[in-house]
Each structure stands twice: as structure tokens, then as C-alpha cells.
Amino acid sequence: MVCAGLETLVDNSITGILAFPTSCDYYFYAKIMFAFWLIIAFTLYRADKDRYIKSDFISAMGVSAIATIFVSLIGTLLKIIQPDIFITIFVIGMVLIVFWLLKK
């Protein structure tokens, strides 16, 4: 994938710079959010593993889904996450939260 150089950047504000990667990869921040979710989930799982004998990955996934939804909500405010991507993140997060709460 070839992206345009930074010299083509029109909006020099923080929002414009942050939104720049989406000009060549529409799903750039969706991937970032997935990585964020994965990192939080594994961090929570590892922390639980140290604390309890039996740790629970589903609850770690559910909790990190809530965090990811809120971070992507802030992303919609900064216009770096498009509404359709936010809806997808919201629905996937909701499914994970439902699994977590049903398991309880």
C-alpha cells in the first residue's frame, strides 16, 4: 500500500494530523482499536493470573471491550473514527460484554 507523503497534508491541526493515516487506509484506527483491545485484555488476564489461581479471559475481554468502546467514542469526537467503524466496534464490544455477563 502506497500512502501519500506528509507534504500533501492540508489540515495542520492535531485532528488533521491524527486523521491523516485514514486517507490511505480507511481501517487504520479500527486496527489500532483492535490492538488496544488485545493489549488491555491480555494485561488484565495477566494481572488476574498473578492475583487468582484461576483467571478468566472472557471477563478480561469484556472489560477491555468497554474501554475500547469509550476510547473509540473519543475518536469519533476527534473525527479519526468514522461512524460506521464506531458502530462495528460498538456491536463487537456489546457481543463480548453479553458473553461476559451471561457467563457470570
Binding site: 473525527k79 458502530i87 456491536v91 456489546m94 451471561l102
Partner: protein, 142 residues
């Protein structure tokens, strides 16, 4: 195995958590004047309002069932007490669980493109659990 009370509590909790996430997201975007709020999506809007209506009716429905339960005169059965209002409560409360399930399942089906077969299997599992749970309540009283 199939405890109706736990199933009902879980579904109400799920409904409340999802509704609060919806509400927070909607208010957050409204307060900050986001140009293209996600609630403008028809499916999200319908789900939000349907969930709100479902949970809002909970109080009135449970109050009606409580009144019905209180008004009934217990009849002595063979080694037990018969209360027919529990059947009515079962019908009403299982309707609420199925209502919340049907409201929430639309989102993954439309947005994520989940196959209807998966939904069919999940619905069957849920309905079977409800039937067995209610039968245990009717038979044993809890």
C-alpha cells in the same frame, strides 16, 4: 441447570449495561456536537428505543404481577400449596427475556452479518432454557 431467576437477572443486567452504553455514547456525542452521531443510524436508533421501552415497562409489569400474586388465595393441594398466579408471572417475565434477546440480536445479525442459523440455534437454546426453568418453578416453586 436452568435457573429462570438467574437467567432473568442476567438478561436484565445485560439490557441495563447495553442501554447505559448507548445512552452514554448518545449524550457524549450530543454534548460535544459530533457532526455525524451514530444514533442517526436507523438500526441503532430503533435498538436504543426498543431497549428503553422494554426496560421501562419492567416496573409496571412486575407491579401488576405482584398485585396479582397478592390477590390470590392459596389453595391446599396434595402436600403443597397451589398458586396459579406464578404461571402468569412466568409468562410475563419470560416475554421480557425474549424481548431483550430479540432486540439485541438484531445488531450483530445486521452489522456483523451473523448467519441466521446461528441466531436460530441461540434462540432455541434460550427458549429451551426458559421452558425448563419455568417448569421447575411451576413444579417445585423455585
Amino acid at each position: 441447570m436452568a435457573k429462570f431467576y438467574e437467567l432473568f437477572t442476567n438478561f436484565m443486567l445485560i439490557g441495563l449495561v447495553v442501554l447505559s452504553m448507548f445512552a452514554f455514547s448518545v449524550f457524549f456525542q450530543e454534548e460535544n456536537n459530533v457532526e455525524d452521531p451514530f444514533i442517526e443510524n436507523t438500526l441503532m436508533n430503533n435498538t436504543y428505543h426498543s431497549l428503553y421501552t422494554n426496560l421501562n415497562s419492567l416496573r409496571d409489569e412486575s407491579q401488576a404481577q405482584k398485585t396479582l400474586f397478592e390477590s390470590e388465595n392459596p389453595t391446599g393441594g396434595f402436600g403443597t400449596i397451589l398458586l396459579f398466579s406464578i404461571v402468569s408471572s412466568g409468562k410475563v417475565f419470560n416475554g421480557m427475556v425474549v424481548g431483550i434477546f430479540n432486540t439485541l440480536i438484531k445488531l450483530p445479525v445486521v452489522i456483523l452479518g451473523i448467519d441466521p442459523v446461528v441466531v436460530s440455534v441461540l434462540s432455541t437454546l434460550l427458549i429451551l432454557t426458559i421452558i425448563i426453568g419455568l417448569w421447575i418453578i411451576y413444579k417445585l416453586g423455585g
